[in-house]
């Protein structure tokens, strides 16, 4: 609506300027200002002016040739070229797409390979670590066992020693007690043997 109004006002302005120009032209060119423009006769132009017909046909054909030469020909060629270019680029894009697809597949395969490899490596490393660990555990256990055994043995030895000392001192005590009771010294060796036997028995029982 606004556009229409703008066009209408433009046309009106244009026409007004033309009319003003013409009026000025008429006033300037005519002798008297009373009748600036002569009355038109209203006669229709003569028909059958064969020169005009021929010229018009020739001129129109020239115009047609010009429009075809400079308008439709180049534009048609351009449109064809453009569609060819678009087709070519579409084809190229298709090719690139398949190529990319192939590359992607390859890469995926590579990736899978490398993943498997890395998994293998990790598995191998894990296994090695496990082995080392087991070894170390075994060694530590061995060590611990040996240490324990040694300690046991030492403890046993110490116990034996302590037992022997206890027995000895018990024998001595028993002998001295018996001496005191008997008031005489008996054959120490006999007694010692007797008491030792007894203590051994008792000790075996006690221990």
């Amino acid at each position: 609506m606004i556009r229409n109004r703008r066009y209408t006002s433009l046309i009106l302005l244009f026409a007004m300027i033309m009319v003003m120009g013409f009026a000025t032209f008429c006033m300037a060119s005519s002798e008297g200002p009373a009748v600036p423009v002569p009355a038109p006769s209203g006669a229709t132009p003569a028909f059958g002016n064969w020169y005009v017909i021929g010229w018009s046909a020739v001129n129109f054909l020239i115009l047609l040739a010009l429009i075809y030469k400079f308008g439709y020909g180049p534009i048609n060629a351009m449109l064809e070229e453009r569609s060819a270019t678009i087709e070519g680029s579409l084809k190229h894009a298709e090719e690139v797409k398949t190529e990319v697809e192939q590359m992607r597949k390859e890469m995926q395969a590579n990736l899978q390979d490398s993943r498997r490899e890395s998994q293998e490596i990790v598995a191998r490393a894990t296994k090695a670590a496990e082995d080392v660990k087991n070894e170390m555990i075994a060694k530590a256990q061995e060590d611990a066992t040996s240490i324990k055994n040694k300690a046991h043995a030492e403890i046993a030895a110490a116990t034996e020693q302590a037992k022997a000392q206890l027995k000895d001192s018990a024998v001595v005590l028993a002998i001295s007690a018996a001496e005191k009771v008997l008031g005489r010294a008996i054959n120490e060796d006999d007694h010692k043997r007797m008491v030792k036997d007894f203590v051994n028995e008792a000790g075996d029982l006690l221990c």
């Binding site: 209408t8 046309i11 009106l12 026409a15 007004m16 033309m18 009319v19 003003m20 120009g21 013409f22 009026a23 032209f25 008429c26 060119s29 005519s30 600036p36 423009v37 002569p38 009355a39 038109p40 006769s41 209203g42 006669a43 229709t44 132009p45 003569a46 028909f47 059958g48 002016n49 064969w50 020169y51 005009v52 017909i53 021929g54 010229w55 018009s56 046909a57 001129n59 129109f60 020239i62 115009l63 047609l64 010009l66 429009i67 075809y68 400079f70 308008g71 439709y72 180049p74 534009i75 060629a77 351009m78 449109l79 070229e81 453009r82 270019t85």
Partner: protein
């Protein structure tokens, strides 16, 4: 130097007289040729500026005539001719709106003359039959006896009446408009003709469109599937 409708000869080209209408036609040819030459001088794949508008116009004519003729290859074949009709008639109609064109010698629009419009109509007449024969070959002749052979005279009269009505319509409109403008300029030269000039711009465009449309529909009817 002020005349009524003036039939004048500017000069003789050998034995052939060159009318003022012919000179105006040359001016129209120069205008259209220069514009189209400028528009398509440096063709680019990605259009810019004038080429863009020109391309849009040409694609529009293809679309328009395809819609009118129902067959795309016929429309593409005849679009240059129809566009030439349109531009020629439009510019020559508007050349009558130059101040005083109806009075000053050499400024009458070519379409306000019988001879010029009849030439255009004869070109349409020949194009119609060329289109018919090139589309259907000899089978096109069945078109003249289409419902029954009894209709042959009527069909022939119709074929003659088409260019005649084209001639008279265009000539009558533009001549009448020029006459109205001339009378108004004679009666009140200053402000009054403005309204008629604005109306004449519209009418000139409509007459150009109507001539093109009718030519297109005649060609489409001759080249269409119906025959």
């Amino acid at each position: 130097m002020l005349f009524g409708m003036w039939d004048g000869v500017y000069f003789h080209l050998g034995p052939i007289p060159v009318d003022h209408l012919v000179v105006t036609e040359w001016a129209i040819i120069a205008l259209v040729g220069i514009i189209s030459f400028m528009a398509t001088r440096k063709m680019q794949l990605v259009p810019t500026g004038l080429q863009n508008g020109f391309e849009a116009i040409i694609l529009f004519t293809y679309d328009f005539f395809t819609q009118l003729m129902d067959e795309e290859h016929v429309a593409k074949k005849w679009a240059p001719l129809l566009t030439s009709f349109f531009l020629f008639i439009l510019i020559s109609n508007y050349s009558g709106l130059i101040p005083g064109a109806a009075h000053v010698q050499g400024f009458q629009p070519p379409t306000s003359n019988w001879n010029v419009t009849m030439t255009l109509a004869i070109i349409t007449f020949f194009s119609v039959h060329i289109a018919g024969f090139s589309e259907h070959g000899g089978h096109y002749l069945h078109h003249f006896v289409s419902p029954s052979p009894l209709m042959l005279p009527l069909n022939l009269v119709e074929e003659v009446a088409h260019p005649l009505s084209l001639t008279v319509r265009l000539f009558g409109n533009i001549f009448g408009e020029e006459m109205v403008l001339a009378f108004l300029l004679f009666l009140a030269p200053f402000i009054v003709p403005t309204a008629i000039m604005g109306l004449s711009m519209l009418l000139g465009a409509i007459q150009a469109v109507v001539f093109t449309l009718l030519s297109a529909s005649y060609i489409g009817a001759a080249a269409g599937k119906g025959h």
